[in-house]
C-alpha cells in the first residue's frame, strides 16, 4: 500500500470544526421554526459537570488571524495544521455530535440535519482534503437512518458520528440496528467520540455517579468504549452486519488488551448466552473495530505502547488522530516516533486509507486524468 508515491502518508482521523459564531452560523441551514431555540439554548444539553478546566479547551496558538475561535476557519485550519504537518486528509468530527443527548428528539433531528448541510457548504466545499462525519440524533434511530440515507450520497461524508455516551442503552442493542443497517448498506463506518458525558439525557459518567472535576472525567473516557465494544460484539452486531466497521475516537488504546483477554475467557464459559457468535470476541474486534491514537498513552518506556499493540495483534486497528484544536492535541511528529517502521506507516496513514477509501492523495487524484 505504501509503495505507491500517490498514497497518502498522513491521515488525521479527528479534527474538530467549530462555529465562528455559534448563534449565527447554523441558522441558514436550520428551519426557521427552530431558530429561537437554537439561539437561546444551543444543543440544549447544558453545562458539562466539572467542565471548567482552565485551559480554555483549545490549544492557545490556534486562534485564527482575525481572532476567531480555533478551527472556525477552513482556510486557516489548512494552513495552521494540515500544511504545517503535511496532513493529506483531515477527517472532521462534529460539531454538534452530542445532539443525541438533547431532550427534544425533533429538535435534535433538525439540528443534526442542519449541521450536516453546514458541513457540506462551509467545510467540504472549502477543500478536497477534508472529509466529514454525518451527525445524527440516535435517540430517534429511524430518523437517524433517514438522515444517513440522505447524506450518504455526498462523497465527502465518510462515516457516521455518535456520542460515546448513549442516551438509552449500550450501542449493541437492537434499537440501534436500523442505523447499522443503513451504514453497512453505504459502506460507512460508525464512529463514537466522547465529550458529552453526564449531560442532557445521559446517565452519570460512572456507575458510581458524577465526577468532581474535568481532570477526573477526562481520565475515564474509556469506560464507554469498553461498554460499547463489549455490547456490539455480544449482541451479534458484527454477525448481523458483517461489513460494518466501528471506530472509537479518542478513547485510548491500551485497555483493549484487558477487554480482549477478558471477553475471550468469558466467552469460552458462557458461549450459550451468545449462540450467534461464531468466533472469539477478540477476532470480531480485530476485524470490525478501529481505535484512534489521541490522546496517545505515554508509557514510562516509549516502546511499551507499540509492544502492547503487537502482543494483541492490533496493528491494523489503530489510526492516527490529532484532535486539533483541542488542548490535548497530539503532534503527528511526536506520535510517529513512538512506533517502529512497519507499524508506523499503518498507524499514520494506511489503516485509515483502507477504511475510508482514501487511497490517493488529492494531488495525485487531480493530476491523474479522469
Amino acid at each position: 500500500m505504501t509503495a505507491s508515491s500517490s498514497a497518502p502518508k498522513l491521515i488525521d482521523t479527528d479534527i474538530h470544526p467549530t462555529f465562528a459564531n455559534r448563534t449565527k452560523d447554523l441558522l441558514p441551514f436550520l428551519p426557521k421554526v427552530w431558530h429561537q431555540q437554537w439561539i437561546e439554548s444551543g444543543t440544549g444539553t447544558g453545562m458539562k459537570p466539572g467542565k471548567y478546566d482552565g485551559t480554555f479547551g483549545r490549544k492557545m496558538d490556534a486562534f485564527t488571524d482575525e481572532g476567531g475561535p480555533p478551527a472556525s476557519d477552513p482556510a486557516f485550519l489548512i494552513k495552521d495544521h494540515m500544511d504545517r504537518y503535511g496532513v493529506d486528509y483531515g477527517i472532521l468530527v462534529g460539531p454538534n455530535f452530542g445532539i443525541s443527548l438533547t431532550y427534544d428528539p425533533d429538535y435534535a433531528n433538525a439540528v443534526a440535519s442542519a449541521t450536516n448541510d453546514y458541513l457540506v457548504e462551509v467545510w467540504l466545499k472549502a477543500s478536497p482534503r477534508f472529509r466529514a462525519s454525518i451527525v445524527i440524533n440516535n435517540s430517534d434511530p429511524i430518523a437517524a437512518a433517514k438522515e444517513i440515507d440522505r447524506m450518504a450520497k455526498h462523497p465527502g461524508m465518510i462515516q457516521v458520528i455518535m456520542p460515546a455516551t448513549s442516551p438509552m442503552r449500550p450501542y449493541g442493542q437492537r434499537m440501534y440496528h436500523p442505523i447499522y443497517e443503513v451504514c453497512e448498506h453505504y459502506g460507512l463506518p460508525v464512529a463514537i467520540h466522547p465529550g458529552v458525558e453526564g449531560v442532557g439525557t445521559a446517565l452519570p459518567p460512572t456507575p458510581a455517579g458524577h465526577t468532581t472535576r474535568f481532570f477526573e472525567i477526562h481520565n475515564l473516557f474509556c469506560l464507554n468504549f469498553l461498554t460499547h465494544i463489549n455490547s456490539l460484539v455480544t449482541e451479534g452486531v458484527f454477525e448481523k452486519f458483517p461489513k460494518l466497521k466501528f471506530v472509537g475516537i479518542e478513547g485510548g488504546i491500551s485497555w483493549l488488551a484487558h477487554l480482549m483477554w477478558r471477553m475471550d475467557k468469558n466467552y469460552k464459559g458462557l458461549r450459550d448466552q451468545v449462540p450467534w457468535l461464531k468466533r472469539l470476541p477478540s477476532e470480531y474486534i480485530r476485524e470490525h473495530v478501529y481505535l484512534t491514537t489521541q490522546p496517545v498513552e505515554e508509557s514510562d518506556d516509549p516502546r511499551h505502547l507499540a509492544e502492547l499493540i503487537q502482543n494483541i495483534r492490533a496493528e491494523d486497528m489503530i489510526m492516527f488522530s490529532s484532535d486539533y484544536p483541542h488542548w490535548d492535541f497530539d503532534n503527528p511528529e511526536a506520535v510517529r516516533a513512538l512506533f517502529p517502521r512497519g507499524l508506523r506507516e499503518k498507524i499514520m496513514a494506511d489503516n485509515a486509507a483502507k477504511l475510508y477509501g482514501l487511497t490517493e492523495t488529492v494531488t495525485a487524484a487531480t493530476t491523474t486524468s479522469a
Binding site: R174, E235, G236, V237, E239, K240, K265, Y267, K268, G269, L270, R271, D272, Q273, P275, W276, K278, L280
Partner: protein
C-alpha cells in the same frame, strides 16, 4: 492395552454417569443417546473436575437473537467456568480444537469396560 470393568449396564442407565478411578486417574463414564463414553475427569482449561458438571442441552449456533435448543442431555458443563463439552465427541463447543481426553469403551453383556494403556504416563 487392557480393558478394565468399571460398571454394570444397569447402574449407569439409572444415573447417567459414574466416576471411577483407574491407576490413580479419575474417569467419568457416561450414557449418552444409548451409547457409553469415558472421559478423563480433568478440564483442559484449569484442571477442574469436569465430569461432575451439570449435564444438559444447549443453545445451538444460530442467527442473531434466534434461540435454538438442542443436544439435550448431551452437553456437560464444567463445574467451574462453565465450558461446554459435547459428551459424544469431547469437543469444547466454543473451540473445537480443545477437547476432553477420552478412552474407548466396550460393553460385554452386563459389563462396561474402559480400554486403557497398561503403563500410564505421568499425569498432566
Amino acid at each position: 492395552m487392557e480393558r478394565i470393568a468399571v460398571a454394570k449396564v444397569g447402574e449407569i442407565a439409572e444415573k447417567g454417569r459414574k466416576i471411577i478411578t483407574i491407576n490413580g486417574m479419575e474417569i467419568g463414564i457416561f450414557l449418552v443417546n444409548g451409547k457409553y463414553y469415558a472421559w478423563r475427569n480433568i478440564c483442559p482449561h484449569a484442571f477442574a473436575p469436569v465430569c461432575v458438571g451439570r449435564i444438559s442441552g444447549t443453545r445451538l449456533p444460530s442467527r442473531v437473537y434466534e434461540y435454538i435448543y438442542g443436544k439435550d442431555q448431551q452437553i456437560i458443563r464444567c463445574p467451574w467456568h462453565g465450558w461446554e463439552f459435547d459428551l459424544e465427541t469431547g469437543e469444547h463447543l466454543a473451540d473445537s480444537g480443545v477437547r476432553l481426553r477420552g478412552y474407548p469403551v466396550e460393553v460385554d453383556g452386563e459389563d462396561i469396560y474402559v480400554v486403557i494403556k497398561q503403563a500410564v504416563a505421568n499425569q498432566s
